[in-house]
């Protein structure tokens, strides 16, 4: 039977890019269907209105939204559509997906993250499992991401340094802000191990891309030089040069059709003009971001999939996870430092690039009431996000009401000119539970007439305990640095830009959606390669692991096709 393409990929973000890159370079005909527009470096500006205040890279919530279900204090649940709230689960509907807008804090998972259950034991009320593959299976692909996507950094000895096949990163660290020296000295005095944070940002020209120019606006912003290792800049641009890849932007996939054998038979999508199309391929890959992937599968019923594609054991959408953790901040007030130090602190554009992983495992009976080792996490130090309107708006909240007039102006001036703010982001596992999942909301539909995703969010107390532990440690570092106004806290609010799970991979079809190769257990020609596959998330941002896993699955698919095609 002839097919339009060898492989059809839904989505173009971090989970899709390695598939597109690998298959196109291996000589296979690839079609990419991306919901959003095709922007390049020439379309990305340091524009807070577009990037952060007007949702310029995400759908209009009036037309496409989600429904969130969260727990009340009394244990009951309430739900609301996101258009009527401040929540937004879209992260970047453009070619390259949300990887365009990441900060590129790149950490690998540790070997024990692949065997969380057997390493640390069960957690009551959480569905902790071991992964069906090991760190050794993934390591070559972490290494590949360093070289192909481009990761800059420096390997140093520290208590939780994971095994590596390459001695060091292929690119030197990006330029560092002098505040990093304050962190290093504080950590040294406290007996902690600060380490350079690896970044998916090129520090020098390489891979046919320009290096970082240190604009000072990185996270949340598209990169105007191509230095950031987003899926489009790092992988899809290269795939396009092979002549084997066709990309159709502004193409919203609405249904995956399956036949009487249960296999995918065609993909239906709607173009910008609202016209419906259908395409077929030998194999299909869905990588539309965790929530939308589950939603698409649940909406794609067929003769052998009455409850949604690949959902014959009811697992699609289950065990949704986020990145757990906490946050903190402090201010290096200029009046406490020398003129030279103030000039250094005022430097703009370079990165903080410091992390601590001393508490990736925690032994602390006072908090956890057990001798057992707990899985901990990572602390990353970053600049306060420079978006000025967001910063200014936070100054309008006074103790007795809104601040305005001269008091507001004085506070604004002091906030912007009186010191340098340093921020902490702490990452820990988000324990998957029965109450964190994606389903369809049959009352709220999007502009295509499809039920939107209902996202039920459950916060396990373990997330908060570990989050508080890490937040307190980070507060110690900030104070030791000489910062004032130090605050640090754990957060139960799910970060809407760090989502995974929903289509777990595993060996047992009754408890997982995908097999260890990320192929659907009950749909022979369907793979899922975004963060959906992750049964647990590790204590770091997910992106590097999503990239690595997608390269791993790409190799499986190429092997299934019979290897690279000869030119």
């Amino acid at each position: 039977m002839s097919h339009d393409y060898d492989i059809c990929v839904v989505g173009s973000g971090a989970g899709a890019g390695p598939i597109i890159y690998t298959l196109a370079h291996a000589g296979y005909k690839v079609l990419v269907l991306e919901k959003g527009p095709w922007y390049t470096e020439q379309d990305y500006f340091k524009d807070e209105l577009k990037t952060s205040l007007r949702g310029g890279y995400t759908p209009d919530l009036r037309e496409e939204q989600h429904v969130v279900e969260i727990e009340n204090d009394d244990g009951s649940w309430r739900n609301f559509p996101t258009y009527q709230s401040s929540w937004n689960f879209w992260n970047g509907n453009v070619v390259g997906g949300s990887s365009n807008f990441m900060s590129g804090f790149f950490h690998r998972l540790k070997p024990n993250d692949f065997k969380l259950l057997s390493s640390y034991g069960p957690i009551k009320g959480a569905n902790i499992v071991d992964w069906p593959i090991s760190y050794d299976d993934m390591e070559p692909y972490y290494d590949k991401v360093e070289k192909v996507v481009g990761v800059s950094g420096k390997v140093i000895k520290h208590p939780f340094q994971e095994p590596r096949s390459s001695a060091d990163f292929p690119f030197p660290p990006t330029a560092e802000h002098p505040i990093a020296q304050h962190i290093d000295k504080a950590c040294e005095r406290l007996g902690f191990h600060s380490m350079p944070m690896p970044r998916a940002i090129l520090s020098q020209p390489a891979l046919n891309r320009k290096p970082c120019v240190y604009s000072g606006f990185c996270g949340s912003y598209g990169c105007a030089t191509g230095a950031k290792g987003g899926s489009r800049a790092a992988l899809i641009d290269s795939a396009m040069t092979t002549g084997n890849c066709e990309l159709r932007p502004e193409s919203m996939v609405t249904h995956i059709h399956s036949d009487n054998t249960g296999k995918v038979s065609a993909i239906e999508y709607v173009d910008k003009q609202g016209k419906k199309h259908a395409v077929d391929a030998k194999l299909y890959v869905v990588a539309a971001q965790a929530i939308e992937t589950s939603r698409l599968l649940l909406n794609s019923t067929g003769p052998k999939h009455p409850d949604g594609l690949a959902n014959n054991t009811g697992q699609v959408g289950k065990n949704l996870i986020f990145a757990g953790g906490g946050a903190g901040s402090g201010r290096m007030s200029y009046d406490k430092f020398s003129e030279q130090q103030v000039n250094d602190l005022k430097q703009f554009g370079t990165f903080v690039n410091r992390s601590i992983q001393d508490w990736y495992e925690i032994k602390d009976q006072s908090l956890f009431k057990t001798e057992a080792t707990q899985k901990g996490g990572t602390i990353d130090f970053v600049h306060l996000h420079p978006n000025p309107v967001a910063r200014a708006n936070r100054q309008t909240r006074g103790n007795g009401g809104l601040l305005w007039g001269k008091p507001l102006k004085d506070k604004l001036h002091e906030h912007f000119t009186g010191g340098r703010y340093i921020k902490v982001e702490a990452f820990c596992d988000w324990a998957p539970t029965d109450n964190s999942h994606v389903s369809l909301d049959n009352k709220v539909k999007d502009k295509y007439g499809l039920p939107v995703a209902k996202i039920k969010v459950d916060v396990h107390v373990q997330n908060l305990k570990v989050g508080w532990y890490l937040a307190n440690k980070s507060g110690d570092v900030l104070r030791e640095m000489g910062a004032d106004n130090v605050i640090s806290f754990a957060s139960g609010v799910p970060p809407t830009n760090l989502v995974a799970g929903g289509c777990r991979f595993g060996k047992d079809a009754k408890t997982s959606v995908l097999n260890p190769d990320c192929q659907a257990h009950d749909v022979e020609n369907l793979y899922i390669t975004d963060g959906s596959f992750m049964p647990t998330g590790g204590s770091v941002p997910h992106t590097w692991t999503i990239y690595a896993n997608s390269f791993r699955v790409a190799d499986k698919i190429v092997a299934r096709f019979g290897g690279e095609k000869q030119a």
Partner: protein, 194 residues
């Protein structure tokens, strides 16, 4: 300063005008004709705003963010023009436009009821009287939400890229020693055009 001068200064235009001003004249003073054409073609609900509504908004903006000798205020950052342009943009959510208008009308009624000289306009009051009225208005849920929004648009006018009509020549960035990132958005790639 008389009302006409005040309106003109609020729109960022300092030239004297000798004829009575309507709201559209205020807009005309600050916005190029070509953009006015675009607004009328799209029949924006912003056309429901009356001159008195713009006067109320400009009065509140100046109260919340007053001009100082060494710091820009609502007039210097083109706050009224900025808000007008945002509300006139065809892609702006009509709910946002109607919210600003209904809050403005609510404040007008509220201030007339609360003023000592019954029926006085907010713009005719002393700074102290205006502060009292606005603080009372803040206690109303609807009033607080409206003030939060007006403050937000003031800060947008202060700190977003000058291509959007506020922050002329980066006056807000300079005042707060904020370094903007590059590249800046060009006019043909403002957020609604991409």
């Amino acid at each position: 300063m008389d009302r006409r001068t005040f309106i003109l200064r609020s729109s960022g235009t300092f030239a004297a005008v000798s004829t009575p001003l309507t709201a559209s004249a205020v807009v005309k003073a600050a916005i190029p004709d070509s953009e006015l054409q675009q607004i009328s073609e799209h029949h924006s609900p912003v056309n429901n705003f009356k001159e008195s509504d713009w006067v109320t908004i400009a009065t509140v903006q100046n109260h919340l963010f007053p001009s100082e000798i060494d710091a820009p205020g609502s007039i210097e950052i083109n706050a009224l023009t900025y808000l007008h342009d945002y509300l006139s943009n065809p892609i702006t959510d009509h709910n946002d436009i109607e919210f600003i208008l209904s809050g403005t009308r609510l404040l007008q009624t509220f201030s007339k009821q609360k003023s000592e000289a019954n029926g006085a306009l907010l713009s005719d009051m002393s700074i102290e009287q205006r502060e009292l009225i606005l603080r009372e208005f803040e206690q109303e849920p609807e009033g607080r939400r409206w003030l939060v929004n007006i403050l937000n648009y003031l800060l947008e006018a202060l700190l977003t890229d000058p291509v959007y009509g506020g922050n002329p020549n980066g006056i807000g960035w300079q005042w707060l020693e904020h370094r903007a990132g590059e590249p800046h958005p060009p006019a043909n790639k403002r957020y609604w055009l991409l």
